[in-house]
Symmetry: C2
């Protein structure tokens, strides 16, 4: 499409904004260097015509979509190879591509080679001995072999001990014999497993000398390197179409007496000696680290989803005019409807808060990693508990937020050319993978009731739960004056009381004669809602700390906008849990009405800068890939443009008319 | 797939249920006759091999999906013709097919001929003169012409007066000249418009003698009856892929100096005489009736969506075993996790309550229609207000409920073979079409603040809002004893107070100097949440009345189960709005904890009958179309079966390996 002038309604928004979006964009990218790097990568990848699709993916069949995804994944891999040859760090580039906005622009339905880079290679690095790394890494690094990571099974997900795939050591040949004992034991879901990878790290129950030893990872060759035919004993394929991530080539895998050499078991943490002697791992806690790492990254991904969805919906809401507010006036920009602002602006605020919280969790994780390497595991349970509930809350809120943005665009948000359906598919998946959200909240809750007991015993708790110490001392929360500090403090008081109720409920069940585990199951809803409040109290504190901090280092114009964002975030978060606030804090009807009118005031104050704020997210039009959300706001032109790509519109009369409809119409004549 | 034995875990559930699902199924179908009719239609349509797909729709391209949908739509039309020739009522059959469960089994992504039957024909019946009906109906009835209904435009939806398409009467030729004056005036969204219909009722702004007369409907021929080529001046096509309803062939339409004869304007309500004299409609209120009719039907559709989703998720939760509750016990059925029950059972209860409420609203609508025909329009505003908020609430809750069910199935719910993605696409669309939900709530709210003012003036209000009269007399709600009656009464008290707050907020804005309309816009969130509570209070009352009534006429065993369903529904509904309850009613922390433990008790009591309840919905396996939800519970076998249909799995090595991946792997060697 030729370059068009910016829609005048959108231009007006930009002209009247009170701050410079570029200043925020640089902060958002992580500073001047990162910003430049981002722009360079966008240029390199987005201007390559081979990486553009003529046909939108929604018109491709599942098979065409896969083939096109693999084509582009290989092209991207080739570009990364060249960057590495030129001295750039290929992994960083790849991570930038996957974690950042570029990945979505290049392969919006996911990349069949992703798991090779993000799971296969890192698993060998993390769990292989030095010798094994020397053997496998160069080949994997240069993509002479393509791997994936096969853990989850058709009948077994979160509960790893339930996995059925088994590896029996045969000392006579110094090989493991790997088997899928039942249908529910088939490996299911690994990305790239279907038709792409020729190797996988397969997680199986290890048996040596006839004894069960626990889970272990094995490198298994799946396909011939020359012909790509499945190896003997390997039953493999693609699991089928899905709600999203349609190009990832998620696969299934059955193994029948597949033999791999002794040295294919990754042995950094545990070993099997040639005679079958098993050497157990010294520290099982280390694997927590990787899971936490991934969950921290996911928090940033949810921010990224919200930034995309809110950009599209906000720009569209500046362009679309509908339903007069005053019947004597023309139809206003729909963003002028307060109910529309209530849909959009909290999503913008959440995008910002989830991002800054994700960044600060990332820093905490890095400090923790250093401590762990020095043998100090003290903060591991605390960080584990925090990362679990934040992953659950941010993914659930982002999923809901994306849908709120889509629905705010009326029927047009339902069209694939809006890109909302794809963003939704990618975002909601985060609720399930890397730990299903309810399971995550229950893990956090178990930690919380444990530390609540410690607090009752007078112990001083670690930083992220220390608010429980304070709450226990208070009979009542009397300092709610509506200030942002008091909202944060109130969130902590409410969270502490939710933990108290959950703790007391567990006690009640135990006194009724139930065991610890059955009591925990019965009290499940009390536990998950306590974990939810703990996470939200952390987010409130983090939003306050981080945004107040950022505001100190930016221009006064930007600082003013960020203050409104913070206030909107906190007031909205409080009203979304007002039942819990009213339950534990003595607020009047009038207090609540005041919070509600204050929310309205925040919306009105953010209104002039809404477009500039989403502009600040600096999302390339290729990343947004949305007829509704492009920078120039030529919504209707772009929607029309999209109809020209529709294969149904390539011919004025579809063959089905002559074949089916005409005979049906004429049957009675 | 050959018939398999029922999964033993599922069989165990059926063996231990305390009531007979068949008894409930007959009630659910609407009585013995309707039940038999349903079974007969299922036999006639579902056992026809020509109406089964070998390839699941998710593997078809957009074009293939359309062609297959049209093929089946014509076959279905042919069958209905035969039924009519045999003396059956074709419309009833078609309505049963579309509104009931069969439509989804036959055309799960929607039917490109739907709008012909549900909008084109009824519009001619409702808005055509007797002569026009004689002219057009036989042809439409026999499908010699295929029509659709074109109202919404690319830039104009809910606000009908904003439509741009215009029809200018040319008295010299006695024709209307219809034009699309701009891109945003293109007709957009009508089902079947893309490549299927050859006629449409086009809604346009009417001008005669150079004067604007308001909106009018015109029958316009779009395509040649023999060649199907678009007529002169007609620019037409398919709008493209969407989140759901992928087979509906939603289209766009531009008109350039398209001339239609005077008699093609549907003139029952308003007329244009040959000389261009305009005769205005006597009663503009009549069109409300149709909108209400559709919204009442949509409430039942949302119940139907929830019944499907909860059936799939409940059966899967009986079959799937995961995560031990007691570490010394094997993994339990996931339905034994209380948190899982909390996801599933409220959806089952909502399905039942939305269905019974939909039925009772339907009866109210029929009474009202009779009154309107007698010229009595008194209850029209009340029913309009009620149908608007119920449409919004039921569609929003059903959408959320479907996703809760999907997420309760972990990763497998994300696969298209679960059928959740399609059910979601169909359900969430209801939030937008036939009146966008926020607009619906605002319409209800306007009515509520109006009647609140009347109540303040001492007027007695009509039945569905009479609770406001009572609430105004109370200083305080002191009778909350946790009984179901008191929950219903409390809901009404809370709703009345939400209306009060909204009313007061409007007053505040007006005193600040804003006009009525600007005040309403500023107070938008107060208004929508008041309308939400009004609808929920009605649902609570309706659930209580209807289910208590039903329980009197069924076996004691079934009555006991329905009582648990009712209690679960009310306690859950109350806890979901607990913030509003605490705001207006003096409840303690302990009261809330009691409600929460009571919810837990309801879940535990429903647990033994959960599978039998969803069995009672009597949804054919073809309707569910879900590997996770089939009656026999052979989940893993069905998932495997689905992989065999995957075109990617028809060949062990995909061509993209040789074309892209192998050269990439070997490039460095």
């Amino acid at each position: 499409m030729p370059a068009l002038e910016v829609n005048p309604d959108l231009q007006k928004e930009r002209n009247t904004a009170t701050f410079d979006p570029h200043e925020f964009s640089v902060y958002w990218a992580g500073g001047e260097d990162r910003y430049k790097e981002k722009k360079a990568l966008e240029k390199l990848f987005l201007e390559d015509p081979a990486l553009k699709d003529d046909l939108p993916t929604s018109y491709m069949s599942h098979k065409e979509l896969y083939e096109n995804s693999l084509r582009k994944a290989c092209l991207i891999g080739e570009k990364i190879r060249k960057l590495r040859a030129d001295g750039e760090d290929g992994v960083d580039t790849y991570n930038a591509l996957l974690g950042g906005s570029l990945g979505a622009a290049l392969l919006k339905e996911g990349n069949p080679l992703s798991l090779h880079y993000v799971m296969f290679v890192p698993t060998i690095m993390g769990q292989g001995t030095m010798d094994q790394q020397v053997e496998w890494l160069p080949k994997a690094w240069d993509c002479e072999i393509i791997g994936t990571y096969a853990q989850t099974e058709l009948g077994h997900g979160t509960f790893l001990r339930g996995l059925e795939t088994r590896a029996d050591y045969d000392a006579s040949t110094q090989e493991f014999v790997i088997n899928t004992p039942s249908r529910s034991a088939y490996k299911w879901w690994p990305g790239g497993l279907g038709h792409t990878a020729n190797h996988a790290v397969v997680v199986a129950q290890l048996y040596t000398k006839g004894e069960f030893r626990g889970l272990a990872p094995f490198i298994v060759q799946l396909r011939d390197l020359e012909t790509h035919q499945p190896m003997k004993g390997i039953d493999i394929g693609d699991i089928g179409t899905k709600l999203g991530m349609k190009g990832v080539n998620n696969g299934y895998l059955g193994l029948k007496n597949v033999r791999v050499p002794l040295n294919n078991m990754l042995m950094k943490n545990q070993q099997v000696l040639p005679d079958g002697t098993y050497v157990a791992p010294k520290n099982s806690v280390l694997t927590y680290g990787t899971m936490m790492f991934v969950r921290c990254a996911l928090i940033r991904d949810t921010a990224y989803s919200l930034s995309k969805a809110s950009t599209i919906a906000t720009r569209y809401s500046a362009v679309r005019r509908q339903s007069p507010i005053d019947p004597n006036q023309p139809e206003p920009q729909i963003m002028d409807h307060t109910t529309q602002q209530l849909k959009l602006f909290p999503q913008i605020a959440k995008a910002i808060v989830f991002k800054t919280t994700g960044d600060s969790i990332w820093s905490m994780y890095n400090v923790l990693s250093g401590e762990i390497e020095l043998g100090n595991l003290n903060r591991l349970p605390e960080m584990h508990a925090l990362s679990c509930c934040l992953k659950a809350i941010c993914s659930a809120d982002a999923t809901a937020g994306v849908e709120t943005c889509r629905l705010s665009c009326g029927g047009h948000g339902y069209m694939d050319c809006s890109n909302f359906p794809t963003i939704y598919g990618m975002t909601t998946a985060v609720c399930t993978y890397e730990g299903e959200n309810t399971v995550m909240l229950l893990q956090t809750a178990r930690y919380l009731v444990k530390v609540y007991g410690q607090a009752l015993n007078g112990e001083q708790l670690v930083p992220t739960v220390a608010y429980i110490n304070e709450a226990i001392k208070l009979q009542e929360f009397v300092n709610f004056d509506g200030s942002l500090e008091s909202i944060v403090k109130a969130f902590q008081f409410v969270a502490a009381n939710k933990v108290r109720v959950a703790y007391e409920q567990l006690e009640v069940r135990r006194k009724q004669g139930h065991g610890v585990e059955v009591s925990a199951n019965l009290s499940g809803p009390f536990l998950t809602s306590a974990a939810d409040l703990h996470g939200r109290a952390f987010l409130a504190q983090s939003a306050y700390t981080e945004l107040t901090q950022v505001a100190k280092h930016v221009s006064p114009a930007l600082a003013d906008v960020l203050k409104v964002v913070l206030e909107l975030y906190l007031v909205d978060a409080c009203l979304n849990r007002i039942g819990d606030f009213l339950r534990f804090i003595n607020l009047t009807d009038k207090d609540v009405t005041n919070l509600e009118t204050r929310l309205e005031s925040c919306l009105n104050r953010l209104r002039p800068n809404a477009v500039a704020l989403v502009d600040s997210f600096d999302l390339h039009d290729r990343v947004l890939d949305s007829a509704l959300g492009a920078y120039d706001g030529n919504v209707y032109e772009r929607i029309f443009e999209s109809t020209k790509k529709n294969p149904l519109n390539k011919e004025p009369v579809n063959a089905a008319f002559h074949k089916y409809l005409k005979p049906f119409m004429k049957a009675n004549l």
